[in-house]
Amino acid sequence: MKKLRSLFRDLTKDFRFTIAFVILLALLFLAILSFFSPYHPQRMYQVPRGRPPSWEHPLGTNWLGQDVFWQLTFAVRNSLLIAVITSLISRIIAIFVGMVAGYRGGLVDRILMIIGDTTMVLPSLVVLIVVSTILREWVRHLTNLGLLLAFFSWAWDARVIRSQVLSLREREFTFVAVLSGMRTTKLVLKQYLPHVLPVILTTLINNMSWAIGMEITLAYLGLGIDPTVPTIGTMLQTAIYRQALFLRLWWWLLTPIITSILLFIALYWLSVVVSEYLDPRTRFQRIGLH
């Protein structure tokens, strides 16, 4: 606990971390607030439509008779949920594939890496568009979209983990463990996992913002999840599709855009600060000690 607190104090020395942390905390608060929403997220015509921001409706209401602020709380919750599902599942795949490929080597390694390389080389947006057209019904569900996105984002991490395991395998503690009769799964999970976790942490954050971005892109094309379920993407899509600009309902369109920008900036700054913290060389460079 003490260690955590001093780590936190170290990180807050960077103003970017502080800002990112505050933004993320605020968004998390919004997401939690959605559970106390007085309105239903999908039902229409619950409030007068097309009203500008006021005390009663802090971010105005949209043309479908929904309160934009409460819609936003649901949208943030669902978008974050997709991001978390994608990044966690893809990290699990990456850890599994990377460790198996690195530890077993040989043919298994080669096959796994070729599959990984193929998913990396494929232009993921084009493929995602094709797949989500094919599986339109399946992808409409939030969890399934997260799973689909996860499939396209494990390969890079798997490669990094594999190369780390390759070098760890040659270290002495491995021989000691093997000779003392430690089971392979225990060895890999207890001894190797702590070594690869830091790398996973930064790519996890990047992957989250990639997933949120992809959700927005797919929703923009009218693909992806059920358009009546609010996410940042579907909110944006609905506002564009219903011509919010020409109805002069700027608060309807700008809310998801600004929220997404804040979210992307917060996640990016967080990842930069964390990776600088984990790699002391860049830390020194920043203070000018080189």
Binding site: R16, I114, I115, D117, T118, V121, L122, P123, L125, V126, V127, I129, V130, V131, T133, I134, R136, S209, G213, I216, T217, Y220, L221, G222, L223, L236, I240, L245, L253, L254, I257, S260, I261, F264, I265, L267, Y268, W269, Q285, H290
Partner: protein, 334 residues
């Protein structure tokens, strides 16, 4: 000989294998689409009021299947897919029958290439120069630049295009909202045509430039900061060589290698790089026709675009691997 065996051969094998897997995926994925193009065509006939007698239905279906290259079992289709691929033939576009897919793509290519070649090269050059100088010298202005880039960098290019669209086409209507050229203007080398094309391309180009410059500026700056702390730069300084000479002859050229890699990778994604930007601005390039193809269930067109993007990406990576040793002798015998 050693070079071929240890450097070229493994990369060639990998290139062929990955391309093969990617293209096969491109073949199988659209075949599972829920939309049946033959049924859609029949529905379209019926919508026009054409009466199809039931006894002829089967014949028409088989004719259509033949036309679309959907006849025979899946494995037969797969074989003929590869045969046709080597001839660069993706069959006719289903939504714009009988225009061949290659022709539809060829019509939209100049738009995409014009837009992306220009923005890719321009943003690369600007980023390398500005990023190089900002990485070497430090001062008030580099801090300001850094702060701006830190904010712009994480914004995805499609959000940026929406922002630009709202700002410069709606709030301050300087540029047209959508399209690649004004309505009713014919393609010719007249002043009016060129003006219209530039006006319509300006906004998509602007968004791509902002994002591209911010992204590459940062990597160039980091690389230059790394090179700056190398010993030979220190020695050059001690030897009394002018600062300007050090920057432009010592530091920037040595920082170029990773940047050249980035440029090469970007050339590979030119084909599929700005799909969403094109969709946002209804710019008549590859992104726009892909959107159209997805909406209309045009198998052949989706497949054609996917195949070409896969080929472009894998080939550019392979070519980069090939020319890399020319730039960096350290790679040559690895």
């Amino acid at each position: 000989m050693k070079f071929i065996k240890y450097y070229l051969a493994p990369r060639l094998v990998q290139y062929i294998l990955v391309t093969f897997l990617g293209l096969s995926a491109a073949f199988f994925l659209p075949r599972i689409l829920p939309m049946d193009p033959v049924k859609q065509q029949l529905a379209q006939y019926q919508a026009f009021g054409v009466y199809i007698p039931p006894e002829q239905l089967e014949e028409i279906v088989s004719t259509l299947q033949q036309l679309y290259g959907l006849e025979g079992s899946l494995s037969e289709q797969y074989m003929s897919f590869w045969k046709r691929l080597f001839r660069g033939d993706f069959g006719p576009s289903l939504a714009r029958y009988p225009t061949p897919v290659m022709k539809v793509i060829a019509q939209s290519l100049p738009w995409t290439f014009g837009l992306l070649l220009l923005t890719t090269i321009l943003s690369w050059v600007v980023a390398v120069i500005v990023g190089g100088i900002a990485g070497y010298y430090r001062g008030r202005w580099t801090e300001i630049l850094d702060a701006i880039v830190m904010v712009i960098r994480p914004i995805p290019y499609y959000i940026m295009s929406l922002l630009c669209l709202i700002l410069f086409a709606y709030l301050f209507p300087i540029f047209p909202l959508s399209g690649g050229i004004g309505v009713g203007i014919e393609l010719s080398f007249s002043w009016e045509t060129v003006k219209s094309i530039v006006e319509h391309g300006a906004l998509p180009a602007l968004t791509l430039l902002i994002v591209g410059i911010a992204w590459q500026f940062q990597s160039m700056k980091l690389i230059v900061q790394g090179v700056r702390s190398e010993d030979y730069v220190w020695y050059a300084k001690v030897a009394g060589i002018e600062e300007q000479r050090i920057v432009f002859h010592y530091v920037i050229p040595n920082a170029m290698l990773p940047m050249i890699t980035q440029l090469g990778l970007q050339f590979g994604t030119i084909f599929s790089g700005a799909l969403v930007t094109e969709m946002v601005f209804a710019y008549p390039g590859v992104g726009w026709i892909l959107y159209d193809a997805v909406m209309r269930g045009d198998y052949n067109l989706i497949m054609g675009i996917t195949c070409i993007s896969v080929l472009a990406v894998t080939t550019s990576i392979f070519l980069l691997d090939l020319i890399y040793p020319l730039f960096d002798p350290r790679v040559r015998y690895r």
